[in-house]
Symmetry: C2
Subunit: 189 residues, 2 copies
Amino acid sequence: MGVTRVYSYTLAGKAGVTPEQVRKDFSEYGIKGNRRGGYLTESLVREIEVIFSRDRESNVVVVGMGNLGQALSRYERFAGRGINIVATFDIDPYKHKSRSDIHVYPMERLEEITERFGVTVAIIAVPEISAQEVCDDLVNLGVRGIVNFSPVLLKVPQYVVVNNVNLSDEIESVILSVRRMKDEQSLFL
Amino acid sequence: MGVTRVYSYTLAGKAGVTPEQVRKDFSEYGIKGNRRGGYLTESLVREIEVIFSRDRESNVVVVGMGNLGQALSRYERFAGRGINIVATFDIDPYKHKSRSDIHVYPMERLEEITERFGVTVAIIAVPEISAQEVCDDLVNLGVRGIVNFSPVLLKVPQYVVVNNVNLSDEIESVILSVRRMKDEQSLFL
């Protein structure tokens, strides 16, 4: 937006934290600003990108092309975050036909493609019943990070990172908070 | 699976916590088991369902029927969790035609439908630019809980709960963990 300088209190307001926190976080990474001049926008963005390795792209595969897998593989916001979906996989041969812009490979080609693109991170969006098997395959092929959208607690070796994303939990937690608020309100009526 | 009794250590193993934690959590909610007999499966499930209000259904709407909104509105696992998607909305008239089993309403009918179904929780899956406006509309219509899939920090009154689900963040955190592990390993080579 043509802003050459930005201040800790501006960033703090946007992020919902205190200006002190912003300055402390930045200074821990050696990012310097000053009281009068704030931070230089251009170099600040560059330094943050390096911290989050956003200067580097990561090749990621999606396994399981149901509705959620399809949505994830088309997710536009990943591009700006260095998340590069290089291929998607499904056991259903019907899905291999290019219904859209995304190419869906059969599971048999998982090894070839993870190797070719040096894939170390995968998104699992398969049904519960096949999640562990897919996970084992990925780990055997060198994948070291898994984002798991299935409701299974995956068993992995210690050197593999798993992030479980449970969409039902995310929605249920809001439902429960709203109910709790209503119950508390009704106590005062 | 025909199991009539279940033990704290079995549940603990599945959940990845200690048996003591399982017994402590249950006893805080007045759920009683005993050392020899464990817990009676049937009554345990019933009591847990009451705790999570899963004996009650919640009517939820999805606003924004892009890829993610469509995936969410078709998400089969919600049904078993008492999450009842009663309607979806989009400004794009093309999407109002029933392309599948899900009916997509125009935004003009938001009031009528939230009122009819007593909707207090909504899922926002619209683009960044319209997220705050949609949020304001929902709050004005009585929605008290929002699951926000847009990357906007929504401004809401204190009595509204917002749960921000950022899929890019979930994947980026795994990418960064894998990179960090690799960097640490290379120190020892």
